[in-house]
Point group: D2
Chain length 347, copies 4
């Protein structure tokens, strides 16, 4: 699209990826084939078959089992970290200190202190990009929503209602993942929290209240988690947000956001149409729904990598900051505390 | 609604109904209970059980087997004719000559000559109302469409696409009815034809072309009828209309109209929602569809009777004229001829 | 519709109405003209012009300024009370003691004690109908929702999200009304509360948490009220409800309810279509939205009166009880306390 | 997506592009950057600035002003022809004879004889791919429609209604283009014609009838063209199709198709949503519409190139044949003749 304005003389960004699970593979492909301004030169994973895949399918030349040797590569400009959450903060700091630009998947960390340590290191490397993967900001519909709000179409926005609802997985994979996920709000709602802050103009969060229920997956009770959670956040100045997260939708993935202002309301993603088809049959009028988060945000994942590469090449300023990631974590943690205490918690 | 502006002093209109089939019963109930400005005083039917129903359920005092004695009632102001189509023209003329206001179900007749004879008689009784039941004109949505078009929201309207599509009746009741119905276009599309003329500003129809197919009911072939028909009408000045009529929808009744203008397009009835419910389940997102014409136009049937009563009482001028009914018949016949000849036919 | 199954021999119910404001007039017209099984025989209002209206427009014979003389009428079977909320409880008890069936507008009272006093009196008159006007239960779409839930289409319902959102009134009429309305939750959300209990199978409410904001009407601060309110209710057994009430929608009235179950989700009222029209113009694709609660629930208001009359005549059992009204008040009050305290409140 | 199943050893397809107008540039970018299995090695254009663009922006090494020298390149496996329609047939034959795989934009030619000559040449080169750009077949929604029809969800499909409607261009660019475009049906409806044949199972077309009107662009009259055209096609066995093409939509591009069968109906593209946003404001509820064909079929254009490349590499069989293109031209020409003669024309 924007090819005509770029100058081909500039060398391509040399990127390495760490972590080649489902989402890591997706990012790796986008870097290897979807973007003319970068090349995927190295990969890091403790899983040999994942490195084989990178070598054979993507033609990646340098494959590392060790994160240290991965970073210790002078011909590497930037790293993309799709590793377990518990490693995010330390790996981000190490990469920044090694002189690399960093893209790290959300959440930045499961505690505020780690987020702030990363922010401090990033501040010492002001010429390097440090970006957290709040992918929904890169979705065309969310982006246009932000533009229309900024243009004043809603008057003053004062309420966000946002949800991340996954199709029920009868196997309950996420139940096994629950002990380390940080709970439903840290895992799912952290996106909605970031969006709410962004679309409301980054007001300061004051208090959070949460509740929830276990509809289908009793195994979650062990980790004090739920499969359907509700939360309200109060912001300074009167703005409010309501979040809903569910693991048990019967029909597909339905991630939606509503921004309510004094002059209008914007709804993003309602209907969750899988495609542009509608069927009429004896069962009525129906349409299929998106199966999962990846199907919904396919374009956004591409755009996210493109903007990271553009930022590293100095061609674009990111609106998404590490401070945003810290705030999302801070609010998500207060919500999670409230779910457990049953009382409103200060953010 | 408008009660506060009416004057109660005026006597109620005394109405009689002839024909108490499904639609006749509906009109009879509307006249007996739905309108404070009229009373249903008499009924006429060759079927004794229908008269019993009128007497017992509606409290109708005067019940007649003979249409002549029905008309020969000095305490009757108006008649509503819901009799077989073949009787419409003669009964309308007889009632007008007996000094009654007349409401007659569509179509006025299955040939233009009969329509014109009725028009001539009506012209001799200018103080009596003579109204044909093009009920869709009284539907709130169609009415607002007409108002918005008149207000210029579409610029100059030049194309109408309109359909009357019924849910398939596996019993094929209408197949037995086919020999006397006038065919699918006279039976179903006559409404769409009237709407197209109304919404396009009554242009003169020049030519018609039609085709069709039998999808499910081979018995129609005997009467040269089809269960799915398509027609195009060319009007003077460049306006065009496309009609679709079907007897075989699997999911319900879907009657829709689209008016396309130089500045906008209005769609009426798309989706055919049975109610304000939407279900999400493993089968996707779905809504139920209206079962039939009566469910779709329930409010319009009420309004139609109310406007007939108001016109008889001199409180309202009707925009719908006998000449409109004649033109709808004329166009419907040209379409039907084209279906049979395979060639465009002059209207 | 159901006329064919009723027996005309039974005498018509003799009904009187007290209170002839906007909603009172609507009920009065429905009783005078919309129902063949009752007659509106008397009216009561302190406002002479309202009684004039009843006499002249509806032909009501007995008009009273005093509620006592209104009740003291042996030829009166039932009363419909559309009086100020503060009078509801006492008038209901007086009418029950006078031997009348009673329909009273919601809310039954602004405190639980009054509700329980009415329940006690009603228990002493088991052969009289006592019904509170939770009109949304009589809406065709809500009714079908309840039927489909009962039929198991959602599996086990465990979450209701429901809202009552009015178009902004720049005059802020409701601000003047705020001191006596009981606040936004008692005035608007009480319907949603009743629906949630009904659709979730009447679980016991345990706790409520609420927050809110003033977006456009600062005058509400005096009465500790808000123009946008959010509430969460926790029920025994794990079910949850979220309510949203707003006075400031820019585009119309949007009253919606979503019921989420283990096998499906039902949405009621989303889109708030004013009619079956959709416009395409340079501004995109658009539809008009319902202007207010009355336009949305026009059919429900008719049905509500019809069911009250049928219940008084012994032809129908009501599913809606005084105990339901008491519970709605109890929950609404807990929500209102939470709005003021900022803490969860026990119901 | 499917990268994991491909074998990287196979050499990349070497492709050249001829024609670098708007659509040509789009294809060129897709070949240069969007597909890992091909490389864009040469370009051909009579316009020097277009070749400059290819050289500088895409890094294309071999740039030709002459089509002959472009073809005379032994290191070229395949060509993509995005040249004026009048050159399509001859260039396709020349490229086939030069041993190249060929992708050529639709329509293949504006007369049936040329199409058949190309078919004959292609038949002499059975190991080379020859593909015409009916891009809508590669759209995910159309593709799923075809799959669902094949799976029997509609029963027996017997009617297609399909439209290609462009947003009005007040400049009327297409008016200047009209003398060589073949008219509105050859230019726009040829896609709908191909889709109808595909989705109905390739029945033989018998007759066509067309009409049209000039709503906004009187200059079209000179070439006997219209800016709004309607056509009906009759197929052997009873299937029917109705096409609508417009140049004058006020709100955007709305390309839709409806397939009606004995057991169901599929609608593709209705609503033409530009994104997943819906606005509520004083103007009602609205969404933006796609601006043009390219925005609607962005993914399909990518997929089309990917499938061409895969077919050339022997990895995929194309369902779309040259015979399909010939039939689409044959039907389009009959429709165009009917528009001019006013009579049904044999196909």
């Amino acid at each position: 699209m924007s090819s005509s304005s770029s100058t081909p003389a500039k060398p391509r960004l040399r990127v390495g990826i760490a972590g080649l699970g489902r989402l890591g593979k997706r990012h790796a492909e986008a870097l290897a084939f979807g973007n003319r301004h970068c090349q995927l030169v190295s990969a890091c994973s403790p899983v040999p078959s994942e490195l084989d895949w990178a070598r054979e399918q993507l033609g990646v030349g340098r494959c590392h089992a060790s994160f240290d040797t991965f970073l210790d590569d002078p011909e590497l400009d930037a790293v993309v970290l799709v590793t377990p959450t518990s490693l995010h903060a330390d790996q981000t700091m190490a990469a920044l200190r090694a002189g690399k630009h960093v893209f790290v998947e959300k959440p930045l960390a499961l505690n505020v202190e780690d987020c702030e340590r990363v922010q401090a290191v990033a501040a010492e490397h002001p010429n390097q990009v440090a970006m957290v993967g709040f992918v929904r900001r890169f979705d065309p519909s969310y982006r246009r929503a932000a533009q229309r709000i900024e243009a004043g179409e809603l008057g003053r926005p004062f309420l966000v209602r946002s949800q991340t609802c996954d199709q029920n997985d009868p196997e309950g994979f996420f139940v096994r993942f629950a002990p380390t996920s940080g709970g439903i709000f840290m895992d799912c709602s952290v996106h909605d929290i970031d969006l709410a802050r962004w679309l409301l103009g980054r007001p300061k969060a004051l208090r959070a209240f949460a509740t929830g229920t276990i509809a289908l997956h009793p195994g979650l009770a062990e980790c004090q988690d739920v499969d359907n959670g509700l939360a309200i956040v109060e912001f300074e100045g009167g703005a409010r947000a309501v979040f809903y997260a569910s693991r048990t939708l019967p029909h597909g993935h339905e991630t939606t956001t509503e921004v309510i202002g004094t002059a209008g309301t914007l709804q993003v993603g309602f209907g969750a149409h899988a495609d542009r088809l509608e069927l009429r049959s004896a069962a009525g009028v129906s349409h299929a729904v998106l199966p999962d988060f990846h199907a919904r945000f396919e374009a956004a994942f591409q755009q996210e990598m493109a903007e990271f590469v553009a930022a590293c090449r100095g061609e674009r300023q990111l609106s998404l900051t590490l401070a945003d990631a810290t705030e999302a974590t801070r609010i998500g943690l207060a919500i999670t505390r409230s779910l457990r205490s049953g009382m409103p918690e200060a953010v």
